[in-house]
């Protein structure tokens, strides 16, 4: 029998990896990001003290550049582990992704939390589906709930071929997915103890 490439039980290593991502995001926030923001303030002070309007204009441009660098850092931090996911959970974090999607997306969520590893893996799988929505696609609904010791994720309205990552993620976390008869509802059930 061929070895199963996707373990049924979440290995400790994967759990550590999500914690590591969270720590890195925090380090970015507390270290370089804060230092760059403080630099923007110091530049503002220099600009206030200098009498030369040309110099002040130049300082303003450097401040704009700092903002651009910080935007890139925020982007990077979001790819590691979105701070909102850590602070507020799947619902608010996915709602933020939904805002940037090219089609209307409704998030129906629960206030229950599922831990950094499960939330991280689920978030990135759903976010990928939402980011791939074409402009003008029909409305999508993502419903998150807990049933017993399972995280239940019901996604309605996605193209049948676009849920691969979601199904793969559910499998890798020891869960299973059911695709509704019309193919438009995909329900993932993932154990969350």
């Amino acid at each position: 029998m061929a070895p199963d490439p996707l373990p049924a039980v979440l290995p400790g290593g994967a759990d550590d990896a999500w914690h590591q991502r969270m720590r890195l995001e925090r380090e970015l926030h507390d270290g370089p990001a804060l230092r760059l923001s403080a630099l923007a303030l110091r530049l503002g002070l220099l600009s206030h003290r200098c009498q030369d309007p040309t110099l002040a204009e130049g300082i303003g441009e450097v401040q704009d550049e700092l903002h651009a660098v910080l935007e890139e850092l925020r982007n990077l931090a979001g790819k590691l582990y979105p701070p909102l996911l850590d602070e507020a959970g799947l619902g608010p974090a996915l709602r933020q992704v939904a805002e940037h999607a090219d089609a209307p997306v409704a998030i129906v969520d629960t206030s229950e939390r599922f831990g950094p590893a499960l939330e991280g893996a689920t978030y990135f799988a759903v976010a990928e589906c939402l980011a791939a929505l074409p402009v003008g696609a029909p409305a999508v609904e993502v419903a998150i709930s807990r049933e017993g010791d399972e995280l239940v994720l019901a996604v309605t309205g996605l193209e049948p071929g676009s849920t691969g990552r979601l199904q793969e993620t559910a499998r890798s976390l020891g869960g299973r997915t059911d695709v509704g008869p019309s193919g438009s509802v995909v329900t993932a059930r993932i154990p969350c103890a």
């Binding site: 990001a33 923007a40 110091r42």
Partner: protein
């Protein structure tokens, strides 16, 4: 203006102190967490309290401190500074108060003029919203609202963006170099095209209507 600040990053806190002083504001106190600012303001009156969102008590001590401050001293203006400009936090802030509040990115208050303008607007009762966030909300409204925004003229989009920043009619007029009367006309037209209730009299209600419209989703999780 009399201000107090709470920020757990020493480098940023010190930078902000220097800039506030250069701008001629009086700093009543400068602390590193949410509980300390509540204690400080129990005895010291200020016009505006400046709060980092993500500070102790974790995870978002700035927001929990603000809720307590608003209940204890409703007249104190609240300026939230954050590394993130996200509508999730904006909605939480508007849940704390819809007048005398502001939400700005840390690196975007790095000039005496911007800092003083932000504080003055909060002190006068306005909602001040980070322009980067307001712009994003207007340019990327919830999926099905895109078509309606596209129906606005270029000038109307400018007015909508400034409304989403929380600016008053006079403020918008000043930014666009037009008369307040012209701004009123644009606003009436925008509300008409978007199908919003034309309750343009109450400033904060109008800002909320615009923000809710652009965001389209409520925090009901």
């Amino acid at each position: 203006m009399r201000v107090a600040l709470a920020e757990d990053g020493a480098l940023f806190r010190e930078g902000l102190q220097m800039l506030l002083e250069a701008a001629g504001h009086e700093i009543v106190g400068s602390v590193a967490d949410g509980d300390a600012i509540v204690r400080l303001l129990a005895t010291e009156p200020v016009d505006v309290a400046i709060l980092d969102i993500r500070m102790p008590p974790e995870p978002d001590g700035g927001l929990t401190a603000a809720e307590r401050l608003r209940a204890l001293h409703p007249d104190i203006g609240l300026l939230f500074l954050s590394h993130y400009a996200e509508s999730h936090y904006l909605m939480r802030i508007l849940g704390i108060g819809t007048e005398r509040v502001g939400y700005r990115l840390k690196e975007k208050v790095g000039s005496v003029d911007v800092l003083s303008d932000t504080l003055a607007r909060i002190d006068s009762g306005e909602i001040v919203i980070e322009p980067v966030l307001a712009k994003r909300l207007v340019e990327k409204p919830q999926g099905d609202r895109k078509g309606l925004i596209a129906a606005l003229s270029e000038r109307e989009v400018d007015v909508l963006r400034l409304m989403a920043e929380g600016r008053s009619n006079n403020g918008i007029a000043g930014q666009l170099f037009v008369t307040p009367k012209a701004v009123e006309k644009h606003i009436a037209s925008i509300f008409d095209k978007l199908g919003l209730q034309a309750d343009t009299a109450a400033h904060h209600r109008r800002v909320l209507a615009v923000l809710t419209y652009l965001r389209a989703q409520r925090e009901d999780g």
